[in-house]
Structures are given as C-alpha cells and as structure tokens.
C-alpha cells in the first residue's frame, strides 16, 4: 500500500471512530445548553447500544434498532431529567448514577442474551447490519479520494453531520434556540419573561439523551459489527463529555473535535512499527492525555463567550430565596 492509500485509509478509519463520539458530544451540548450537566452520557450510550442491538437482533429491522436506541437514550435522560429538574437533586451524582445504571442494564441484558442463546448465535442478521454499515453509492463512491472520504459511509455518519448542522442553526438562528440558551445561562431571567424553564429543560435533555442513544447504537451495530461484547462503550461517553469542552459548546466545532479524537484513537493501526514503535496501551491512552491538555488549555484562555452555560450544575427553583 502506498503512503497515500495509507493516509486515506487512516482518515477513513478516523471518521468511523469519530461518529459515536460526535453523537455523545452533540447530545451533551444540547443538554448543557439547557443548564444541566449530565455525567450520564456513557450510561445513555450504553442504553442505546444494548437496546439498538436487541431491536436489531430480535426485530431484524435497522429502522427499529435506531428508533429503539433513540428511545432508550431518551428514557435514561428522562430519568435524569425527572430527578434533577422536577426533584432538583444533585446533577453530578445523578449523572454518575445514570452511568452506573446504564452500564449495568446493558451488560446485564447482554450477558442474559448470551446465557439464553447457543454460543455464536447472538449476532445481528446480515441484512440488518448491511443497512447500517458503510454504503456503496456506486459512481459517487468510486470518485478517487472524495468517494472514499465523503461518499461511502454509514447512514448514521451522514445523520450525525446533519444533526450537528441543524443544532447549530437551531441554537443560533431560532427563537427557540435563543430561549433555550437563556434557560441555560440564567433560568430566573428566562422564567421572568414567561419561558417555561422546566419544559425547555425536559425537551432538550430528552432529545440530547436520544442523540446519545444513537451513538450507542452505532457502537454496537457499526463499530462492533453487530456482535455484542461486554463493556462495549468503554469510556467513549466520557471522552464525549470532554469533547463538549474542547468544542466550547459549539456543534460545528464538535465535528472537528470528534474527528481529531477519532484520528487519535486509530492512529496506532496506521503508523508502521518501523517508524514509531509505541505499545498499544500507550496509544489507547492518547485521547485521554489530549483531553487533559485541552481541559488545561481551555481553562487558561478564559473568555466571556464560549464558556459553559452559566446555569450548568445548578437546579432552578423559582421560589428560592
């Protein structure tokens, strides 16, 4: 393989790896814009992963798989929203609990499936997998370079890019987006002008959770090619949380951020051992090291704009004195 082919292959793999991260990041951006910090991204992705897998396996329908993954992420988010928005409990602990819970549920169902079906049969049917795996768009996909990089991806990859663009327009160009941002920045101000703070929070936490759930489905159906494995999400939800900071709450910058992190996570496979011989474990560490650096750097260059919504982490109670 020539160097150039190698490079294209690397970029392609980076895109593949970046998709679930981007789903998680976009979901969390929407949630944080409503003034809630949800540390349960990992949990919601697990819920989406197992439910999407289950639906694909049992119902043999890719559409159902995505629908159920979305609903499962939403269900996890609904639990979180009820406890933090309505019952006003600590957001950090609730999010963390959602992660423990989601991880538990996913692994539980996964193990139960393997217990109850003969070994090797817990696999998603081929035609379902094919619907979600990278598409072949004929002539378009055959265009050199661009065909590979732009026109031969999973439908979920195109969907996530659309979500990113749509979210960016929604947040910055619409009245509802403006209202949402005010809820996240200063719920008391939003409330005083008649915006229904709880409704805005609920809707966006739920939507965000659904988006995270889709990311989970991508992991179990595309990344793992329809084979369930324990601990399948493996910390990608946490990286997504860091990516939210990296992209400074901008859906478009999140696309870039996810690409960079995706590239980091597959870099090892594309650097020939003769060039740099670094053990695999050290490579796996890289995204986390970079996240730390990003955290530090973004805290050093503090700016008024591009910060976490000011209301994040604080529950709103109108009669608070």
């Amino acid at each position: 393989m020539s160097f150039f082919d190698q490079l294209i292959a690397f970029l392609y793999a980076a895109i593949l790896a970046s998709v679930p991260l981007l789903y998680g990041t976009l979901g969390e951006i929407l949630i944080e814009k409503s003034g809630n910090l949800n540390l349960g991204v990992e949990g919601m992705m697990y819920l989406g992963a197992i439910t999407g897998f289950l639906a694909a396996f049992l119902m043999e329908s890719a559409l159902m798989a995505l629908l159920f993954a979305f609903l499962a992420g939403m269900a996890g988010a609904a639990l979180y929203a009820f406890i933090t928005v309505t019952l006003k409990a600590n957001q950090n602990v609730t999010g963390l609990t959602l992660t423990i819970f989601g991880t538990g549920v996913a692994n539980f169902i996964g193990e139960t499936l393997k217990e109850n079906y003969p070994a090797g049969t817990v696999v998603v049917a081929d035609h379902v997998k094919r619907a979600l795996l990278p598409l072949n768009m004929g002539a378009l996909s055959d265009i050199p370079v661009a065909g590979r990089l732009l026109f031969s991806h999973s439908i979920l990859t195109y969907l996530v890019v659309l979500i990113a663009i749509g979210m960016s327009l929604y947040l910055n160009r619409t009245r509802h987006g403006l209202n949402l941002r005010s809820v996240g920045e200063n719920p008391a101000a939003a409330d005083a002008v008649g915006i229904n703070v709880s409704r805005y929070k609920y809707i966006h936490i739920l939507l965000g959770g659904g988006i995270c759930g889709l990311g989970g489905a991508y992991i179990s159906l595309v990344t793992a090619v329809g084979n369930w494995q324990p601990n399948i999400v493996g910390g990608q939800g946490w990286i997504a949380l860091a990516l939210v900071i990296f992209s400074s709450w901008s859906p478009l910058r999140a696309v870039l951020g996810a690409l960079i992190f995706g590239a980091l996570s597959v870099l090892r496979l594309y650097i020939p051992k003769e060039v740099i011989d670094i053990p695999g474990a050290i490579f796996s560490m890289l995204p986390f090291v970079v996240t730390c650096l990003v955290l530090v750097i973004s805290s050093i260059r503090m700016r008024r704009e591009n910060q976490q919504p000011a209301g994040c982490g604080i529950n709103y109670f109108r009669e608070e004195r």
Binding site: D191, A192, V193, R304
Partner: protein
Amino acid sequence: MTEPTTAISLRGLTKAFGPVVANDRIDLDVHRGEILALLGENGSGKTTLMNMLSGIYQPDAGSILIHGKPVSIRSPKDAIDLGIGMIHQHFKLVDLFSARENILLGQGAKGGLSPDQVCARLGLKVDLDKKVYNMSVSEKQTVEILKVLTRGADVLILDEPTAVLTPQEIEALFDILRVMKQEGRAIVIITHKLEEVMDISDRVAVLHKGKNVGAIDTAQADRFVLTEMMVGRRVDLDIQRVPARVGDTILDVHQLCVTGSDGHQELQNVSFTLRAGEILGIAGVAGSGQKALCEAIAGLQEVSGGSILLDGKRIDGLSPREIIQRGVSLAFIPEDRLGMGLVGSMNIPDNLLLKSYRDQDGAFLSRKEAREQAREMVQRLDIATPNLTIPVRKLSGGNVQKVLLGREINLSPRVLITAYPVRGLDIGASMRIYDMLNEQKQKGVGVLFIGEDLDVLLSLCDRIAVLSSGRVRAIVDSRFATKQLLGMKMTGLTTDKEDAYA
C-alpha cells in the same frame, strides 16, 4: 365591591417561608393611572407581596383580583398575559445577550411592541445591540423597563428601582413613570425611602412585619406619620455625627490602580487618607470601583500600581494572611456578608474562629474559647438566636451583620472598612450599626464607610470621597456638601481639572 378604576385587588394574601410568615393576610388595591408607593422596612414583605403578583411566588392563601375578576397567577407567564410587568431589584437579564435579545426573549413569533418605538415614545436612549455585561446599572434598568413595556404591561411594578441610581438618573426615571401614569397604567414602586414616596407617589401603602398597616393619599402624609407606620413606633431618624477627635493618618492610599481580571481598569490613581477617629465615606454609583477598593486594601485584590500604607507600613501586594502576620490590625466588613466574611452553613462559634483559629497552638482545634466568646457576644450585642448551634445563614440580616461586626471589632482594629453595612437591615438594626461605627470612631479607629444612601453618608461621615468609574472625583467635608453636588460628581461628568481641589 370594586370600583371601575381598580386594576388590582389583593385579598387576604398570605405567604410563609418555613416558619417565617412574610405576608400575613394582606389586602391592597391598586388603581389605574396612579403611582402607588409600597413602603416598608427591609424584611417587611414588600418584595414577597409583589412577587406573588408577578408569578414568582405562589400564595399560601388568599386571592388576587384583576379588574374585579379572581385570577390564578401560576407563573410569570400568567402574570405577563394579565398585563403585569415587574422590574426586579436584581435584574433578570442574560448577561451574554444583547439588549435586543433580552427584550425578544420569550416572545412569540408575532412579538410585542417594537423596542425602537417604545424608546422613541418615552425618549429612552439605549444601544439595543450592546451586550448586557458591558452595561451600567442604569442601562440595565432601561432594558428591564423596555422588556416590560414591549410586552404591553399596564400594571408596572418596580422593586427598589432607585437603589443603584444617581439623583439625576432617579429624576429621569421618575419622569418616565409620570408619562406612563398619564397613559393610564397602574404603577407600584417598592421603596423604603420616604423622600421618594413624597416625590413620586399618589398614594402610599405601608407594610410592617408582613402586615398592611394602612394606605393613605400621599398628599395627606408626612415623613413622621409614614415613619411611625413603617417602624411601628416613634423613632428618631437622625443619625448623629459624633464630634471627631481626629488623630494621625493611619491609612494612606496613594495613586492606587487595580486592573480587573478582564483587563478593565477598576481603579485609576485613587488617592486619599484616612485619619484615626474619623469616618470617611465613599459615595458612588454601584460598580464604580468600591469593591476593588475595599478588596485591594484588605489584600484580596491584586494591585497594579500605587501604594497602600497602614500605620506607616506598606501593605499593598500582601495577602490577608501576610497583613495579619505583619501585626497590622485591619478589619473588613464586606458587602455580601454570607458571600464573604462569614460561612453561612457554620454556627456562630465556628465563624468567630475564622480569624482566631490560627492563634491556637498545635494541630488540634479547640472550640471552647470560641463558644464562650460567642455567648458573651450574643448577650452584649443583643443577637437574636435560638442557640449557638444553628447556622448563621438562618439568622436575620441584622443579626448576621452583628456577628460579623462583633467579631471584627473584637480584634480591636486600627482601621475598619465597611461596605454597605446596613444593606438589607431594618431601621432599628441600621441605627444600631451606625452606633457601633460611631463608638469605634470615638475609640480612635479610622472607619472607611462605603455607602449608597447619600443622606446617610452626609449625616454619618466626616468627609466623603466620591468615586466614579474607578477614579476619586472629589473629597468633600460633609458639613458643607449637598446631595446634588455628590450626585453630579458621581456621574463623573467633571473634567479632570476640576478634580484637582480634592
């Protein structure tokens, strides 16, 4: 039972927060085309009452009638739909948004009145595309007024709107209110300042300890009647200026400059001296650099230029800890007492330990002495507390202030800095605090008094320095100064040359 001109009637409105009854069966009518002053001391329940009208609080009992019809106001949205608009004392604006975005916020696609039109009608000048975080308080207030008016409110409630304005800005605001009154709106203005009541209102309703003690026409009221209604007894409102026996300079601030974290110049070449046995007032619109000044002296804010000498020793650039270690005794009563100065969740003895725990030997901490001290202080300063174990944030504002002031005075300071020491306190408690400051002055302590009420500054302080946009515009002898003069200096309209006589 309702006259055609009655915009709002409150009947038996009651609201309690835990064991504290903030509003007790209040009846009140507001008419169209009038300005009603809602007068009462801090903590008398004025804001709570109006918050029930604007949908922030839900009443525990009672009814609200609008144009004679009972209504249920479940949220600010209901209030807006009923034509009620409230301008809160703490502005409810999104700092990151522009004025226009704040005004558009929450309005449907059809929107309300155009802010530009409203501005033109009332002669308001505001840059609608300016971000709120770049605005002065009076600009922010204008945005709040626009928010309410573009939503077509015909009942307007203003909570202490003048607290942060200069006398000139207050006049401008009152002019706007008079125009709106002419237009037939009902206006309620919450205040505890008698002069304003006399100046602007048609009628005045007085709250005392959560009860409505009566409403009268302003024309028939005078200061003494109103005070008595407000406080519940006859009080001497005059603050004494104890004759000063001024000693040597103990605090010398010279050419002090402070740069804020965002690069903004908080203080520019501020110079003044404070002598033993005098009270030096600092007047100025909120946000003119008072906070930076206090914190720079107390060692909490980095200084970018100039010097601060306390008792002849340089303390600029020193941390609070280092100042303590130098043996220079400086006490500081910050404006937000529970935000800085005290720990709200700790009890009185633990709060007293803040300044003294370091003097104990060894690694362990003994609370015995602090408990003794607390017991003594509670008695001496008449602090109302059920016991010594409840967190100080559960005490009333006046008692919280006594704990803080008591602790600082116990350290026998040479210099006492107080920032808005009576904010949120009722008249009785305020007078007690003024007395305590006067006692300190007589003991030969130099007191720096950051105030907001010009009347208080003029009667309590020996000299007053006026701060505007981080500069000292004038230092005047309060015996010869007037409010108008201070107000003019506060707006910072003077040229630098005129400052020279300071």
